[in-house]
C-alpha cells in the first residue's frame, strides 16, 4: 500500500486511473551514455513537436481563429530555430549531456534573454520559449501532450494547473485532481469545487510519475491518496463512497426547497460561476441566483480586448438562462496574478497589492466603458446587478457610478434599451472598505464580502503562498469581526450583505454568519444543496458570536 498525505481541497472520494498531465518535475539526467543516440532522440523529438504544434495550429484555426493558430506556428518555428538548435547540439557534444538536459538548459538561457529585455511584451515571451522547451522535454520523456489522452475518465495528476491550462482540459474526462503543489485557493482547487469533483493538493514529491496508469483512491476531505490499498483501507474507502452516494441522493431531495431556517430567517443562496458554461450547474443545483459571475474568463480566453458585442452576448445569455433570478456580474478583476498579455501590465513584485481590478478600470476608462455598456445592454434581458471589486475608497465608488451614468446617457441617446434601476454593489475585500463601510453603504445597493482577499489583506498573508499554513486562518476573529462590522454598516443603511468568498460554503461557520446577520451566501454550485440542508436545520435566534472572541 502506498499512502500519501496532501491537503483535501474539494470534498468527495473517488477512484480511478492516475494520469499525469505533464512531467515538469520528472528527473532529468545530465550525463549521456551515448551522445550520438541523444542527438538522434533530439531530432526525432523536434519532428514530433512540430507535428503536434501544427496539429494544434490547425485545431485553433477551426476553433479559436487565425491569431492563436499563428502563435502555435511560431512555437513550431522556435523548435527549429537555428540558434536554439545549435545551442542544444553543442551542449550535447561539448558537455556530453542528454537531449532533455540540453533542451532545458538552452530553453532557460533563451528565456532569460527575453526576460531581461526592457519590454513587458518581450519579457512575457520567455514563457513561450519555456513552453516550447517543456514540450520537447515531455516528448523526450515519453509524456503525452498537454491534455488528456485517455478514452476513459481519469484522476488528473499534475504539479499544478495554470488558468490557461484549465481552459484546455476536457472536463468530462476528469474524475478528480491530485496535484503536487497548490493550496485551497489555487486554480485547481477552485476549478474542482466548481465542478464538484474531489481534489487533493500539496502532495509534493510523494506523487511520483511512476504511478501513472495505476488505480488511485483519493479523498478530497482528508487529503489522503492511496495506491494499492490494503483490505482495511479499501473497505473504509468503499464505505465512505457508499455514504457519499447516499448523501447525494439525500441532497437531491433538497431541490425545490426554500432556504429558510427553522425560525423563519430567509437566506439568499447563490452561486459563484466563472463562465456561461457553469450556468447549467447553477440550475441543476437549484440555486436562487448568481452571486458572483467572474467576468475574467472573457478576457483570459481572448487574444485581444473582448468586444462589447461579445461581452454583451455572454452576459445576456446568462441573464436569460437564469430567467429573472438575480445575476451579479463582477467587473474585470485581473492583475499581475491573472496575467492577460494584451493588457501589457508591467511585472509587479507584489501583484496582490498592485494595479488590478477596479484600479485598472479607473485608469483605463475605455476598457471600463466597453464592459459597462455590455452590462447595461444585457440588463434589458434579465435581472443583472453590477459589482465592483477591490474597492478601498469612497471616491472610487463615486467614479464608478459616474461611469455607469455616462454609459446610461449614451444608451439613451442611441435608443438602446437597458434597465435604469440595475443594482450596483461592491466587493468588500480590503480592510479599508471595512473601515469605510458606513459611508460606502450610502452609495450602493449591496455589499458582497470577498473573504479570500479580505483574509489575505487583513492577516497580511499571501493567499498564493503554500507555506503559510496555520497563519492563513480564514476563521481568525479579525476576519469574522470585519464581517460583522461590514454587516452592521450595511443593515444600518438598509442594504443587504453577502459573502462570495470560499468561506461562504464553510458549514462550520454558518451559525456565526446567521448570528452576524449575513443575508446572502454565494458558493460553488456543488455546495448549494449541502448548505441548504444545514440552513433548514438551523435556528438563527440561538446562534452566537462566540467565534468572534
Amino acid at each position: 500500500m502506498i499512502l500519501m498525505q496532501g491537503k483535501g481541497v474539494s470534498k468527495g472520494v473517488i477512484s480511478g486511473a492516475l494520469y499525469f498531465l505533464r512531467r515538469h518535475t520528472g528527473e532529468i539526467t545530465k550525463t549521456a551514455a551515448d551522445v550520438d543516440a541523444e542527438k538522434a532522440r533530439f531530432a526525432a523529438a523536434q519532428q514530433t513537436a512540430i507535428a503536434q504544434l501544427e496539429a494544434l495550429a490547425e485545431k485553433c484555426r477551426e476553433e479559436a481563429g487565425e491569431k492563436t493558430a499563428i502563435l502555435f506556428e511560431t512555437h513550431a518555428m522556435f523548435v527549429e530555430d537555428e540558434d536554439f538548435v545549435e545551442c542544444i547540439q553543442s551542449m550535447m557534444e561539448e558537455e556530453n549531456t542528454t537531449a532533455e538536459y540540453a533542451v532545458q538548459q538552452a530553453g532557460e538561457q533563451f528565456a532569460a534573454m527575453f526576460a531581461a529585455m526592457d519590454d513587458a511584451y518581450m519579457q512575457a515571451r520567455a514563457a513561450d520559449i519555456r513552453d516550447v522547451a517543456r514540450r520537447l522535454v515531455d516528448i523526450l520523456q515519453g509524456a503525452g501532450e498537454c491534455g488528456i489522452d485517455s478514452e476513459t475518465p481519469v484522476i488528473l495528476a499534475a504539479d499544478d494547473l495554470a488558468p490557461s491550462e484549465t481552459l484546455q482540459l476536457d472536463k468530462s474526462k476528469i474524475l478528480g485532481f491530485a496535484t503536487m503543489g497548490g493550496s485551497g485557493n489555487s486554480h485547481t482547487a477552485i476549478l474542482a469545487r466548481t465542478m464538484g469533483i474531489p481534489a487533493v493538493c500539496g502532495l509534493g514529491s510523494e506523487l511520483k510519475e511512476e504511478y501513472a496508469g495505476r488505480v488511485a483512491y483519493i479523498d478530497g476531505e482528508t487529503g489522503k491518496m492511496v495506491i494499492e490499498p490494503d483490505e482495511l483501507t479499501l473497505q473504509a474507502f468503499k464505505n465512505k463512497y457508499e455514504k457519499q452516494q447516499q448523501r447525494k441522493q439525500l441532497l437531491a431531495t433538497m431541490k425545490g426547497q426554500e432556504d429558510v431556517t427553522l425560525d423563519g430567517r430567509k437566506i439568499k443562496l447563490y452561486c459563484n460561476i466563472g463562465s456561461p458554461d457553469d450556468v447549467s450547474a447553477v440550475l441543476s443545483n437549484d440555486a436562487q441566483g448568481i452571486g458572483l459571475f467572474r467576468s475574467e474568463f472573457l478576457y483570459l480566453a481572448a487574444e485581444d480586448y473582448p468586444s462589447e458585442d461579445a461581452q454583451f452576448e455572454a452576459y445576456r445569455s446568462v441573464a436569460a438562462a437564469m430567467d429573472g433570478k438575480r445575476v451579479i456580474i463582477r467587473t474585470l478583476d485581473i492583475g499581475a496574478d491573472k496575467q492577460v498579455d494584451y493588457f501589457h501590465l508591467d511585472k509587479e513584485e507584489n501583484p496582490a497589492m498592485g494595479l488590478r481590478a477596479i484600479r485598472i478600470c479607473l485608469n483605463r476608462p475605455e476598457i471600463f466603458r466597453t464592459q459597462l455598456r455590455a452590462l447595461y445592454r444585457a440588463s434589458a434581458f434579465g435581472k443583472i446587478a453590477i459589482m465592483f471589486p477591490m474597492i478601498a475608497s469612497v471616491w472610487e465608488v463615486k467614479e464608478c457610478k459616474r461611469a455607469c451614468q455616462a454609459v446610461m446617457t449614451e444608451l439613451d441617446k442611441e435608443g438602446i434599451p437597458y434597465n435604469p434601476d440595475t443594482e450596483i454593489g461592491i466587493m468588500i475585500e480590503t480592510p479599508a472598505a471595512v473601515f469605510m463601510a458606513d459611508e460606502l453603504a450610502q452609495l450602493v445597493d449591496f455589499f458582497s464580502v470577498g473573504t479570500n482577499d479580505l483574509t489575505q489583506y487583513t492577516l497580511a498573508c499571501d493567499r498564493q503562498c503554500n507555506d503559510l499554513g496555520k497563519f492563513f486562518d480564514p476563521h481568525h476573529p479579525a476576519v469574522l469581526r470585519a464581517l460583522k462590522h461590514t454587516a452592521d454598516a450595511a443593515h444600518k443603511a438598509g442594504i443587504w450583505v453577502g459573502i462570495c468568498g470560499e468561506l461562504g460554503a464553510d458549514i462550520s461557520l454558518l451559525p456565526t454568519f446567521l448570528a452576524i446577520g449575513i443575508d446572502e451566501l454565494s458558493v460553488s454550485p456543488s455546495a448549494v444543496l449541502p448548505l441548504r440542508a444545514e440552513i433548514r436545520k438551523s435556528i438563527a435566534q440561538t446562534c452566537t458570536l462566540d467565534l468572534l472572541q
Binding site: 491569431k67 511560431t74 518555428m77 522556435f78 530555430d81 536554439f84 511584451y121 520559449i129
Partner: protein, 86 residues
Amino acid sequence: MKQFTYTVTDPLGIHARPAGQLAKVAKSFADTVVTVAKDGAAVKASQLMKLMSLGVKAGDTITVTAEGANEDAAIAAVREFVENNL
C-alpha cells in the same frame, strides 16, 4: 546586395507573430541571406529568436538586406511583408 530601410509603425514592434511570418518569408528564398539590422546589430531574418531579441519597437528604423542568388525576389517579398505587417 539589395537593401531598404523602414520605420516600424506596429505598436508592438516586431513581436512574435510577425517575426515568425517574416522568418518564414526570408527562409523561402534559396541561396539568399536576408538580414535585419537595428542600431548596428544585425541578425539573419531566419533566426527567429535573435530577430525578436533585437527588441524592435514602434518608431525604430530597421535596415533590411538581401544577398545571394535570389536577392531581388527576396528583397521585394520581404519589403512587401514588412510594409503590410509592421
